[in-house]
Symmetry: D2
């Protein structure tokens, strides 16, 4: 990777593992809190179940196993619980990129390096990421902006099209929205609503942002970009550049990506700015986490 | 369970599955947002790893398995990725009550019934909870109050003691804090800091709230109660009533419980009120979810 | 269940958990060893992989996760391994009824009872079977008989048909085979070969034995019955009796069932009797085990 | 690895993935069957449970999760099962090197190569072993020989000692046993019996064979070597050569290793030769399999 394309590498030090989270500060959070006007809380995550969720085969479907329920009466008695008392417990197993999820900066590598030049060999089978694992990301809060291209252009954006910078800026203008440093930008294509309504099958061809939008977002120093599709970017890839938007945002600029965001209620309320909070599970060394972000409007 | 002890059952209708979340509204969220004064974001979840975390044996330790990393070069080529591009993925497996977690209203049952009288038999092995699963809880935001008993009384509260109502109210007064309807109350005992510092072994004997505190919290219509211990309540159980606080809060009043909250930074900043946001994973039918709550101070 | 239909219940004592394995003895094993004539070893299990295997959706596909490989160089060094030494490890996760498998006697219950009258409530979420779990079955060796109905009638038996007692006895006669007490009987329908050749999709409609064959096998005191289909019995069920053959053999008579047996090589060699060995994993409380049986011809 | 130390590499062709299994043939199986004299079947695998089994922390304990039991009444009805019919199912998850297990030839690598010179890079995170996975091993039958050093020297061999070639040959002679090409040799140290009796804790220091025994076994062209300890070889390593016996047998000679064999009953019966059958699960690409071998005496 040439110097000119390494974006934010080194910008926050050679040992930085947080990337665009460095755009956030107490001040940006205070400013973002000004977006709270109605007090309505929007939940942006999807239900996780073994059926009905678009999933890549090698990742497997989310699973929930019962550990304890009322059938375990003898076990409850064995630990001294009174006869009228019981409880249930379970275990979950799922790919970190299941359902609505947040990509850690260690997720993608290019030219042998992930964000900030960390070597891909640092991600091992047993322990995962030595650098830039999701536990380094952590929970964050920022100003969020919905860019409802689907509403502006018609829902959903099918056949799969790349959202061009023109589309994107037109939508922002129509909404009366702006994008500020540190923002979390959520792009609505309508794809997830279409997908879940038609059974949850994963289709490779999906609308998403094009490379010029990715570059514009990087230039505007956003913290994270999300969409209601499977890879933020259009598939097949814009300009035939495989995962080009992931490379531009996640790898070169340390900008976080979120996929399978549920944006329908924000769209219905035409709610374009909000306080955005996301809380990945702090799984040591993981490449991401399923999340259930909150937008407070 | 007699009528007199069923607390909030029926209060929000016979088909209610959300319990004390009914205390929340756009208005309470707007009011809670007034607690944001410094803009500092506190993360209340612990790192999840196969080592170093207090865990009950039957639940097992959290696990992360690598699905893809740089060793899968051939697979990347097989799907058409260019030679300089790769990525890593993983799968996680963990008990829903691992690390910092939120209990769903289906978690505990008494006299054959969970919150609002739903029968315990509704929790099946394959599908989990038909009623009051964590997907019915969902993400929420509320005013949060730290009740730092550990700081007030000396850290940590060892040997394990029950926090009495006197301790609790004294601490509130010393802090200049109050508890309002809809609040999320986080009680600091110092136990988790002590536990993690000494290797992460789970000890049964833990400080926690006593039954009179639980009753007071229920009367004050809080939404959720959390603590930096393994069961919110003191162990061994106050008054020898097995899981008595779970029964009072979760089962009788539909008040959510959170355990293994990380409260050290809030304590260090003497930050007693904040906007609290929590985002459980919406696992269909699950008894809870690991979470990583946010407090915005 | 009326007395007349409880078959072998009580035959080996009220506390028996091994059922038809009681037909086996040192003598039957010695006799079975007489079937070894060529020394060829046939492997009757299928490969387990996340793709290509017929599987019910709620069971999930078999999974293999890498625990350690060459990417974990640092970990190897940390435990003192010399630089030229390394190793790989993995974890597997699969339904006990995945691929070629053996049903434990606790697998099915009728009228609230499993084999020998043990109550279905004895199978709990946390610990599984208190009685008749697969660890009580254990490994065994017996005389095996292939009944190659597919070869006798034409391969595979499609559209799905019930193998009648007439078909079964005709095949035995054509082969010059007999069935003796304690035998393991393997019925070939051709279905599995057809299924794997056409991509591994599970089809509900499958050829298999009818109820009269099941009754005949029970009367002849066999130890186990296997087939190269998903339930030994024909689907849809013979006489519309849901799992009727499971009830007759497994529940009433304690006769073990094996599904997805790979019988092609035995068929090609027209090898109809052999020493049969099967080794379930002794998972405490489990309803069965994936197996890879051996036939020594 | 120098030519002189590569043992059996190339002996069965540059593309061989079965190693010492090439010693077996119909003739060796026929000869092995001559060891069947009493008809007693010995089961050499241990019970698999989340408790009581010696396990390395990174591998995790074996787990069994209930998929279906009597609590799933509604599900059974949903698929049309009559009210009196039900069943139970489960899922298992365990390290392939859990309990009694068989190592595949891909398990260990030295100088960047596994058996027969295959590169360690061929073992990837997603798909495991391209060469020498356990599905290439498969089930096999051979003459088995118990070498009961524990009985000969006193049980168990504590403090941990290396079994020298002198001990080994003395024991063979005292037993009146011999080792023939193709044999499976099971060495009893008494360790597993000691370990399980004292709670199942894994201790690093264990008795096992020394390097001279390993070399002798390789020279005698055995197929597999097992023991009732965790690594066949003594720990700490003989001559301070890390995993030296694994290198000598598994890597250089393609001789299979089995650990945690349960040999108590064979020892009690002083049964030194038998037909040995082992049936690994054919998990594609796996480094081994839990097994439950059979010895027919």
């Amino acid at each position: 990777m040439t110097t000119s394309t390494t974006g934010n590498w080194g910008r926050w030090g050679a040992d930085d593992e947080r990337g665009a989270l460095n755009h956030l500060s107490a001040e940006t959070v205070l400013a973002a809190a000004q977006s709270i006007r109605t007090g309505r809380v929007y939940q942006l995550g999807t239900v996780l179940h073994r059926e009905g969720l678009p999933t890549l085969a090698h990742r497997g479907v989310p699973r929930r196993f019962t550990l304890l329920n009322h059938s375990d009466r003898g076990w409850f008695e064995g630990i001294g619980a009174p006869p009228e008392l019981g409880w249930s417990e379970d275990v979950i197993m799922l790919a970190t990129h299941s359902g609505t999820h947040l990509d850690a900066l260690c997720h993608v590598d290019h030219g042998g390096e992930m964000y900030n030049g960390y070597p891909k060999e640092g991600f091992t089978s047993l322990d995962g990421a030595a650098k830039c694992g999701i536990e380094k990301t952590g929970a964050f809060a920022a100003r969020g902006v919905l860019v409802d291209v689907a509403a502006h252009k018609g829902v959903p954006l099918l056949p799969p099209v790349a959202i061009t910078l023109e589309d994107f800026l037109e939508t922002l203008e129509a909404q009366g929205s702006d994008v500020r440093p540190g923002d979390v930008v959520a792009v609505r294509t309508g794809w997830l609503e279409h997908c879940l309504a038609s059974g949850g099958e994963l289709e490779f061809e999906q609308p998403g942002i094009g490379l010029d939008v990715a570059r514009w977002l990087a230039e505007h120093d956003v913290t994270a970009v999300g969409a209601d599709n499977s890879s933020v970017e259009v598939m097949p890839w814009d300009g035939d550049e495989f995962l080009g938007t992931h490379l531009e945002l996640l790898v070169r600029h340390g900008i976080y990506l979120m996929e399978h965001l549920w944006l329908q209620e924000l769209s219905q309320d035409r709610r374009y700015d909000f306080l955005f909070c996301v809380s990945p599970l702090l799984v040591k060394g993981a490449t991401g986490s399923p999340v259930n972000p909150i937008a407070i409007g």
